[in-house]
């Protein structure tokens, strides 16, 4: 680890914290339908959209109506993406004449982008046309993020409101999140990215002549000489902005944010990481403002920062260590080299910014990568996996991070109530049996899907294990990471696993679907239940949710629940691999 690296990491978190309050205040104004500086431009657009679609913005929804509207919207947009993928060979903006996407892969991808996962079991530049990337995929980057924000706001309303059955109007929240938040920031961000060299065009791919012809041996054993390289193009800047801002993560190119056309400079790298945390940090502050307790928002944000720091420190430390298998090789930091483990990392980002990016992208449910997690040291690679396994509540996905964290808050308050022998209260609302049942359902579904699918997959040599390129604990990590990433709606890949098979396309598709919707429903049920409750005045026995003690309790509950659930699986994967690496074994 170096001072320079830590200065860059400090600059990043300082920027996040500086932007959190203005972003949070703006988000609160948008979702409380208060006046903003964009109203003169956007209110007419909003009214037009409601008139065209027949939406009555004053109509409020119960939690079940809110959930059903969200499910129907997701089903309709999933179908749109599936159709576009299957018909792309007949549609315009396909200069490479790419064929239709195979049906299992098309379904997997449609579920993936609908659920904000952006798992990609394909190479985008050789599979998806420009139209598919824009109409089928980038649209979901807006919609799925707007859905996440709408759901988080519905939960916050459930806490803030009293003795009511409704949580707001899903269509209004979806529209306002898209028009007031995602679109304007994405436009500005796209221009910033384009100014740094991120490409934006509809040109056919370029072909460059290699300075030195390369001999390549194919899987059939035949050696051919390659003299040219295809350089993919496309409308990248416009997609890159929302990919990061909406914590989507699906790359325009296979190499994702490691590709120089997606993430060319240190500045774009910094802005991309910042944009991942921008809305989740703002939403935590918006929570405080909307429930009338700004300090509570800061206490929740503090818990996120503590967990972010723990992940960043561990990952940066692990990646800075010399590889014990490289005996006699100088691996120390110097003016001439980064030191530590540079395999799978871009030289222009180095170890600090690769470790930070990996932590940030998995704290949030983004899934973009600027280095290959598969090539991280075992403990360094464990950090991204552990971040997702904790439920992606460390900042988390846009909206999804906040509502996931609030479920943990309900659990933390419940445990605090048990410890002092009082009925637990959260901001004046009594937490009762139904709320805790729904919270436990939310928390138990997650490991059930991940561990269930992983266990079934490792027991099937032909369908599951045949896709692995590494065996032993590293192979287990690859399978575990895939189901963790899918269920957590993260979408990053550990690599080393050929996931474009029928088994993985269908099973990961189901995991993504369940990881999104089977967790949203109990969360909304808690929100609906809380909205109907009376406010109980605070007393001497009320557990305050604005203090450092609350932050410590919240962090402890998150770590204990995460550690208890997944420690056995992690010990068989990355932890065992770390110990065996020390003993001289690699996989």
């Amino acid at each position: 680890m170096s001072l320079n690296g830590w200065l860059q990491i400090s600059l990043f978190i300082a920027a996040v914290l500086l932007l959190a309050k203005p972003m949070g205040s703006y988000l609160a104004r948008v979702f409380e339908r208060r006046r903003t500086f964009l109203d003169p431009l956007l209110v007419p657009c909003e009214r037009l959209l409601y008139r065209m679609t027949g939406i009555k913005p004053e109509e409020e929804m119960r939690w079940t109506e809110y959930a059903i509207a969200m499910l129907f919207f997701s089903a309709a947009t999933l179908l749109l993406t599936y159709i576009v993928e299957r018909l792309q060979h007949l549609l315009p903006l396909n200069p490479q004449h790419l064929p239709a996407v195979e049906s299992a892969l098309a379904l997997n991808t449609a579920i993936s982008f609908t659920t904000n996962t952006n798992w990609q079991a394909y190479t985008p530049e050789s599979t998806m046309s420009y139209l598919t990337q824009m109409l089928g995929l980038a649209t979901h980057n807006f919609w799925s993020a707007a859905v996440g924000m709408a759901l988080a706001v519905a939960f916050v309303r459930g806490i803030a409101r009293r003795e009511t059955k409704t949580l707001g109007n899903f269509w209004v929240d979806l529209t306002r999140g898209t028009l007031w938040v995602l679109l304007p920031i994405s436009i500005v961000f796209s221009l910033a990215l384009a100014s740094q060299g991120v490409v934006q065009n509809f040109r056919p791919y370029d072909t460059a002549k290699l300075m030195e012809p390369q001999k390549v041996t194919g899987s059939d054993g035949k050696t051919t000489t390659v003299t040219t390289q295809t350089i993919a193009q496309g409308p990248v800047a416009s997609q890159e902005a929302i990919k990061m801002l909406g914590t989507n993560g699906g790359g325009f190119f296979n190499a994702n944010s490691a590709h120089p056309f997606e993430n060319p400079t240190a500045l774009t790298n910094f802005l991309q990481m910042l944009s991942i945390f921008l809305l989740p940090a703002g939403l935590a502050i918006a929570l405080g403002q909307m429930v009338g307790s700004p300090k509570h928002g800061w206490a929740v944000l503090a818990a996120m920062v503590v967990l972010w720091f723990a992940g960043t420190f561990t990952c940066y430390w692990a990646e800075s260590q010399p590889n014990p298998m490289l005996h006699g090789v100088d691996q120390h930091v110097s003016m001439m080299q980064s030191g530590g483990n540079m395999e799978g990392k871009e030289v222009r980002f180095g170890i600090a910014n690769s470790a930070l990016f990996a932590t940030v992208t998995t704290d949030a449910s983004c899934g973009a990568v600027n280095g290959m997690h598969d090539s991280f040291m075992p403990l360094g690679g464990m950090v991204p996996m552990a971040n997702i396994l904790l439920g992606e509540i460390v900042f988390g996905g846009v909206g999804a991070g906040l509502y996931g964290m609030l479920v943990f808050v309900v659990l933390a308050v419940f445990i605090a109530g048990l410890m002092v022998g009082r009925t637990p209260e959260y901001l004046g609302k009594k937490i009762e049996a139904y709320d805790v049942q729904m919270a436990m359902l939310y928390l138990l579904i997650f490991p059930f899907i991940i561990l269930g699918f992983s266990a079934v997959t490792v027991l099937m040599p032909n369908l599951g294990l045949s896709s692995l390129t590494n065996h032993g604990p590293h192979g287990l990590s690859e399978i575990l990471y895939a189901y963790t990433s899918a269920t957590g709606n993260n979408g990053s890949a550990f690599a080393g696993l050929n996931a474009n098979t029928h088994w993985y396309n269908y099973s990961l598709g189901i995991a993504m679907f369940m990881g999104r919707f089977m967790m949203i429903v109990p969360m909304l049920a808690i929100a609906g239940s809380l909205a109907g409750k009376k406010i109980v005045p605070a007393s001497a026995g009320t557990f305050p949710v604005t203090t450092p003690l609350f932050t410590i309790l919240l962090v402890s509950v998150i770590l204990i629940v995460g550690a208890l659930t997944f420690f056995p699986a992690l010990s068989l994967g990355p932890i065992l691999e770390h110990l065996l690496l020390r003993a001289g074994h690699t996989f």
Partner: protein
């Protein structure tokens, strides 16, 4: 044929999700 299979799977998943909404709502009803 593969399209029908894929779309059937999607319909089944959404139908299960809608049933799940109803189930969670009924659970609250049974407690109140």
């Amino acid at each position: 044929m593969t399209d029908i299979l894929a779309l059937c799977l999607a319909i089944i998943l959404f139908a299960l999700a809608l049933t799940y909404v109803r189930g969670c709502d009924l659970l609250r009803g049974s407690r109140s």
